[in-house]
């Protein structure tokens, strides 16, 4: 059923899409990590008011689909005078969505540090800042690794939705080719393989990293 000529001819297009997916995932994930880290730190130190705002943001972002978030950014915002490029919308969307997921992952790690470790730190006279710096963050980060890597994979997969705002990433490329040449078997197969090429090695690397972090700097 498969036609190798069709597949070969489409490879350059898929490579283009591949690049877009990777690039967008990369900046989106970095954005999400930064937003998440900042939010979780502000939450950890219980900065008044700001903590409340962050909670609201987290709930809003976690409980609505990325698709609608993107529609809003891309199609609805210009109506009220805010026009952002598709790529920028994608970046903001991933960061907005991913930021809350990452923040929850970091917070989970920080809160997972056991109370006895914190008591032990206080008992040798460490200040709150020192405790955070030398005990809570290093241990919390390694505790949050599994959640962080799950989020990374999740966010990469979410980029497949960007076809709705015309970003030429992998899924969009495949759907476009199907629309022109009507070879859904070949193009969908290529699409699945393309995601496997990104995600399988990545998830192996992340698993190794998780283990490293856990046994390298942490663990009882």
């Amino acid at each position: 059923m498969m036609d190798t000529n069709i597949i070969q001819a489409a490879i350059p297009k898929f490579i283009e899409g591949f690049k877009v997916t990777i690039w967008l995932s990369l900046i989106g994930i970095i954005g999400a990590l930064i937003v998440g880290l900042i939010c979780s730190l502000l939450q950890y130190f219980k900065v008044p008011i700001v903590s409340k705002i962050i909670s609201a943001y987290i709930e809003l972002s976690r409980n609505t689909p990325l698709l609608i978030q993107l529609f809003f950014l891309y199609y609805a915002f210009p109506v009220i005078g805010l026009k952002l490029s598709a790529t920028f919308c994608g970046f903001i969307g991933l960061t907005f969505l991913g930021g809350s997921y990452m923040s929850e992952a970091f917070s989970g790690g920080f809160n997972g540090v056991s109370n006895t470790q914190i008591d032990a730190g206080k008992a040798i006279g460490m200040s709150r800042r020192q405790l955070a710096r030398y005990v809570v963050f290093p241990q919390g980060l390694s505790l949050s690794m599994p959640a962080l890597s799950a989020n990374i994979i999740f966010l990469i997969k979410e980029t497949s939705i960007f076809s709705v705002i015309a970003i030429p990433e992998l899924t969009n490329t495949a759907l476009d080719l199907i629309g022109i040449y009507y070879r859904s078997n070949e193009y969908l197969l290529m699409l699945v393989i393309a995601y496997a090429i990104i995600l399988i090695p990545l998830s192996i690397v992340l698993t190794i990293l998780e283990r490293r972090v856990r046994y390298g700097s942490f663990g009882n």
Binding site: T116, Q117, D119, A120, G121, K122, A123, I124, G125, M126, S127, R128, Q130, Y134, V135, P138, Q139, S142, S217, F218, G219, N220
Partner: protein
């Protein structure tokens, strides 16, 4: 009598609306060893955690070296360097090596130079027979080793008082002895002032100068050790001692 180092006056402690400690009054003199005994849930841990501010108390006063303690975050941080504490759970920082665990306080809190801190750590580790474990991570140690290092970590700050909260309770029976011996040595050789919560009655009898017997948050007895173990003042204390033997 020796100089009084710590005094507690009318200390009351609540969790939410539940009162845990009632008008606790006692003091400890330099070099004295106080055993804090009592049934499970009587408030022993809560009491000694109040002494270095890990728990806030509701009312009451604390005097350290004759000075009244004003319970601000800053002051507690100061006091905690003078009051070392070791817990039941092996509480070494799991992300740091043995050496880093020990020098963290001296360097970051007391602003000692690294070389000076390392020197102190090495000397103390030698003393507890663990000089070879400088670069080891806590997870590679047995429970007994961890507790000895936790003691070293507290000692590295040169505290004037040490608090021990059931430090042998989670240890394998054969590990208990090594840890208790170190505590005994601290009292005998260094004349360290100590408050010890323990369920090892034999040990308490050997080491304590005085026993504080706590029940339901009340101090029922504050008696010299010799007298307590032979002839306790209260019925309840006698019962308690009885139940600890088979």
């Amino acid at each position: 009598m020796a100089k009084e180092i710590l005094r507690v006056e009318k200390l009351n402690k609540f969790y939410a609306k539940q009162q845990i400690l009632y008008d606790v009054d006692f003091s400890i003199a330099q070099g004295e060893v106080l055993a804090l005994l009592g049934p499970s849930g009587s408030g022993k841990s809560t009491l000694i955690r109040c002494l270095n501010g890990l728990e806030e108390f509701s009312t009451g006063d604390l005097f350290f070296d004759g000075q009244k303690m004003v319970p601000t975050e800053k002051n507690w941080q100061q006091i905690r360097q003078k009051i070392g504490m070791v817990f039941q759970s092996y509480d070494l920082f799991s992300n740091l090596t043995v050496l880093e665990n020990i020098v963290l306080g001296p360097i970051k809190v007391q602003k000692k130079s690294r070389s000076q801190a390392v020197q102190i750590a090495t000397r103390l580790l030698k003393r507890v027979g663990l000089a070879d474990y400088l670069q080891t991570y806590p997870r590679q140690l047995s429970g007994g080793q961890k507790q000895r290092i936790a003691i070293v970590r507290a000692l590295a700050l040169h505290p004037e008082v040490m608090l021990f909260d059931e430090v042998t309770a989670s240890l394998d029976p054969e590990m208990v002895r090594g840890v208790l011996e170190i505590i005994k040595e601290l009292s005998e050789k260094d004349n360290m002032t100590m408050i010890i919560v323990t369920h090892e009655m034999n040990f308490a009898e050997q080491i304590a100068d005085r026993v504080l017997f706590l029940e339901d948050g009340h101090i029922l007895e504050n008696t010299p050790s010799k007298q307590f173990f032979v002839n306790s003042q209260t019925e309840r204390a006698r019962e308690f001692l009885e139940s600890m033997k088979f």
